[in-house]
């Protein structure tokens, strides 16, 4: 591969690309190449500029781009519109993050694929349709001739993404640009899509530019990796080089923040601080302000993207300390096993007893028979010990969120009971007494929707304390609010802020502070970190663990991410189609899973080790 890389002209050659959105410098002086058949991954968190780069390659950006983008020998930033349209979809094609919204809801999927073939190949209608069915076969969709006649909403998320991939392959492009193509898909579906990408690379020789925030995913499909931070390429090299022996402190920090399912259990390390102001980036190293090993020189002078003295020529890092980074960085903190003692102690704090909830679609007419009800939660019984975390893990549609809502009293289960210590809770939260309401709090996935946009942080966090009558004196209330904010690493200066003035991580911290302000005995955490960046997620998870120890709070932790669960849970329950298929302490469930489904889930998780065998489960 490397021999070919050096000889053949690159499919994509990006030189000194900069993108600005008004005063915002989103991408600064990024250069990289992709050889024919090669796969380059760009890793970054939100604000890194990775998606801007992907769309700039197609010249589809709202901002202003400078530099050069050579696509199959043509410089596209200066190309006239018609010539650009002739390249798009033919030489380079794109696969998007959210296939449901990327497909036109009003057009049959077969036609959406055939359209590109007719346009670029001047093929006839029947010919283009036949090729479109052939492409759907190519991406392993069952009964492709029938699927071609369906509309996007009639397909599952995994099927939709295959259609998008088939559409991208329609005109045998030389380059596939994939922008977070598996984010939002279930882990088993993700594994199958990644395997498909690899198969297509092997068989068609298409080059890939793969954008992702997930290092495990990138490890599965990429030959080389570039790491982006705040609009700059900070490290570049082969996947093995970058992910196994990173030479930039940011890459190292990302790896240490990433929860994983393999290796010894360790403590997640958050990255302190936040992104620099992109309107006026610092003159020195862009990461210096958050870096553990930065010195005065780092703050003053921007390092170049270069190889280390002893290292491989292709492995470059934008760090002054690239030559001795391994010795400079502090060792990785190991887990305090006491954190996650799996022994349950005493009587359970919460008991979920034989809870059932089904959903029934409305019949067409009042007197007609409706479709069969779907059992979202099917006779589930679970216990949570005091001060411990029970994680319920499942894929979309497994019923895990419905279960959480039943516990919180947001929906009415048909059968079963929720017991909090000695009391049976009323099924609906509005029927529960103040005491029971106060004892069970909720942290939602999306803090934007869960925080009142017209309330300041002081009001949001103070409300539970006035509601439950803990504090009436306003000076004392303010003191208590500040204490709760400081417990989640926010300070007094946040008191007067409104949700829109904060980042996603800060908003989720406010949600956590609000939950603890009620002094609850149990908090239902419904995917509390899945909308957050990895580095922020690590910080939030650590804070949840610390607060739990301090207040002896129990968590019902809902998640789709086995890696996250492994880091927070004392007990794990795997849920599928409304049923608990397996439960136990994480060491047992992850170490020696009994059920095939659990095994398949674990096998599907993209780890830093490229997977050889095809995935076990089909989507």
């Amino acid at each position: 591969m490397n021999v070919m890389t050096d000889l053949a002209p690159p499919v994509l050659d990006v030189r000194h690309l900069s993108i600005t959105y008004g005063p915002l410098k989103a991408v600064r002086d990024v250069s990289f190449r992709i050889a024919p058949g090669e796969s380059l991954g760009l890793i970054g968190e939100s604000g890194s500029g990775k998606s801007s780069i992907a769309f700039a390659v197609m010249r589809y950006i709202k901002g202003a781009a400078s530099g050069e983008v050579h696509l199959a020998g043509q410089e596209i930033l200066s190309l006239p519109e018609p010539a650009l349209a002739a390249l798009r979809g033919r030489v380079a094609a794109m696969v998007y993050q959210d296939p449901m919204s990327a497909l036109n809801p009003a057009i049959k999927v077969g036609e959406q694929i055939a359209e590109a073939i007719r346009l670029h190949r001047r093929a006839g209608k029947a010919e283009a349709w036949a090729r479109s069915v052939e492409l759907l076969t190519r991406v392993h969709l069952p009964r492709p001739a029938e699927i071609a006649h369906r509309y996007p909403h009639q397909l599952s998320g995994g099927q939709q993404q295959r259609v998008v991939i088939a559409m991208a392959l329609a005109c045998d492009p030389q380059l596939l640009i994939m922008d977070e193509p598996t984010t939002g898909l279930d882990v088993t579906t993700e594994a199958v899509i990644l395997e498909l990408v690899n198969e297509l690379r092997r068989e068609t020789g298409v080059a890939v530019l793969f954008i992702s925030h997930n290092m495990g995913v990138v490890a599965q499909v990429c030959d080389r990796v570039g790491v982006l931070y705040a609009g700059q390429l900070v490290e570049e090299g082969t996947t093995q080089q970058v992910l196994r022996a990173p030479l930039h402190p940011y890459t190292v920090a990302l790896m240490r923040a990433m929860p994983s399912i393999e290796g010894p259990r360790r403590r997640l390390a958050a990255i302190p601080g936040r992104l620099p102001d992109m309107r006026a980036p610092p003159p020195g190293c862009i990461f210096a302000a958050r870096c553990a090993i930065a010195d005065d020189n780092c703050h003053a002078e921007m390092p170049a993207l270069e190889a280390a003295e002893q290292g491989a020529a292709g492995h470059r890092s934008r760090c002054h300390h690239r030559d001795d980074i391994a010795t400079r960085l502090p060792p990785e903190p190991l887990v305090e096993e006491a954190d996650l003692a799996e022994l349950t102690a005493g009587r359970p704090r919460l008991q979920i007893v034989d809870v059932q909830k089904s959903f029934r679609a409305r019949p067409a007419l009042p007197f007609m028979r409706g479709p069969a009800p779907v059992r979202a939660v099917d006779h589930v019984t679970l216990d949570i010990a005091p001060g411990r975390t029970l994680a319920v893990v499942g894929e979309s549609g497994s019923g895990k969120s419905t279960l959480a809502r039943c516990v919180a009293g947001l929906i009415l289960p048909e059968e079963g009971a929720i017991r909090l210590e000695n009391d049976v809770l009323a099924p609906l939260v509005q029927k529960r007494g103040r005491g029971a309401q106060q004892a069970v709090q909720f942290i939602f996935q999306n803090p934007d929707a869960a925080l009142n946009p017209h309330w300041s942080v002081a009001q949001i966090v103070g409300r539970p304390m006035t509601l439950y009558g803990f504090e009436r004196d306003s000076a004392a209330l303010k003191r208590r609010v500040i204490e709760h904010l400081e417990a989640v690493k926010l300070g007094e200066r946040y008191l007067s802020l409104y949700p829109r003035e904060m980042s996603g991580g800060e908003k989720q911290r406010v949600s956590i502070a609000r939950a603890f302000a009620a002094q609850p005995r149990l908090i239902v955490c419904d995917e509390p970190t899945s909308a957050l960046d990895i580095s922020v997620q690590a910080a939030i998870l650590n804070e949840l663990l610390a607060l739990q120890r301090q207040h002896d709070t129990s968590y019902l932790f809902i998640s789709h991410d086995l890696g996250v669960v492994r880091h927070v849970a004392h007990q794990v329950a795997i849920m599928r189609q409304g049923r608990i298929v397996e439960s136990g302490p994480p060491s047992a469930v992850f170490g020696t899973p009994r059920e095939d489904y659990t095994k398949a889930l674990i096998a599907a998780i993209p780890t830093l080790e490229p997977r050889q065998a095809p995935a076990l489960v089909t989507a």
């Binding site: 589809y60 018609p82 349209a85 390249l87 998007y96 019949p363 067409a364």
Partner: protein, 315 residues
């Protein structure tokens, strides 16, 4: 299947609405102060005459009974007799209903596609000069009531430039197409009002559609711009827009009342205006019910059309 259920539910709902409308109009018209018999006979009538007329009209019977009797007859197509003209109402209605329908349907037929086209054009370059011109005209037309627009049109096109008749002066049984030039100004007035509203609604949804991820997909597939608009944006734009136009149906009917009176066009609008000033209760009841039915059916058709065009709801 789902679509069929939806349509059946809507038809059932329409029947309920119409029943409620009939109860309400019957109640309001009969509860209003002033006696119908006095209105018929004039101020000089003796109490005996009034009693006799009341008995003849059945006004001495209880309200509920009168309502049920009226409803039963109406269901069979008999709306009673006009107090003003003494004729049976049903035959009077049919000719005028046709005249109004001609006016309304031609308006919809021209204005709806034109308004959608203007909205789409305006949305292609939001803030461009074309968008600004269309927007300015729309706001102006929306701000002016129909009778002002009507008077301006009469002033411009039949007085200053005597091209078109400013008044139809039509006999109720005359075929409006025998003098098509008399239709031009009334329809122009109705179209102007409708263009304003629908074009701006279309513009807003079109801007949203053009910013959607699936339009981005089409552009990045190399689809030329005009094809993106026609094949990718329009099929998603039309269903909600058609439903909006259905909602606008009521405005068209309201506009008809004004325009028919203004141009002396003998349609339902003119008929009901006359009936109200004469307190011709049976005519008012019949026309209100008919208008409510027309509005409901128009809305239903629009919703069903929108439903059938949307693959997500159709299946």
């Amino acid at each position: 299947m789902q679509a069929l259920g939806f349509i059946l539910r809507r038809v059932a709902l329409l029947a309920v609405v119409l029943l409620a409308v009939s109860v309400l109009t019957f109640a309001i018209v009969n509860v209003l102060p002033g006696d119908v018999a006095t209105a018929v006979l004039g101020d000089m009538a003796t109490p005996e005459q009034v009693t006799a007329v009341r008995a003849a009209l059945g006004l001495d019977q209880p309200l509920a009974e009168r309502y049920l009797r009226w409803l039963w007859a109406a269901l069979q197509g008999d709306f009673g007799r006009s107090l003003q003209h003494g004729q049976a109402i049903a035959p009077m209605l049919s000719g005028r209903l046709g005249n109004s329908a001609i006016l309304g349907l031609i308006t919809l037929g021209i204005a709806a596609p034109l308004a959608v086209a203007l909205g789409v054009v305006a949305a292609l370059k939001p803030g461009g000069w074309l968008d600004k011109v269309i927007g300015a005209i729309a706001v102006g037309a929306y701000a002016l009531p129909e009778y002002v627009i009507g008077l301006l049109f009469i002033l411009a096109f039949s007085i200053w430039l005597p091209l078109l008749p400013g008044s139809s002066l039509m006999d109720p049984n005359e075929n409006p197409f025998s003098r098509p030039e008399a239709l031009v100004l009334p329809i122009a007035v109705l179209i102007t009002g409708m263009l304003a509203f629908i074009s701006q609604i279309t513009r807003a949804s079109m801007i949203q559609v053009m910013g959607s991820a699936y339009v981005r997909t089409a552009i990045l597939k190399g689809v030329p711009r005009w094809r993106v608009v026609m094949k990718h944006a329009l099929p998603n734009l039309l269903p909600p827009t058609i439903a909006e136009i259905g909602m606008y149906f009521g405005y068209v009917i309201g506009g008809l009342v004004v325009v028919e009176t203004l141009f002396s066009y003998s349609g339902l609008g003119q008929m009901v205006t006359n009936a109200v000033s004469y307190r011709d209760v049976p005519v008012i009841q019949a026309v209100v019910l008919l208008v409510a039915a027309a509005y409901g059916i128009g809305n239903l058709i629009a919703d069903v059309a929108a439903l059938l065009m949307n693959p997500r709801l159709r299946s």
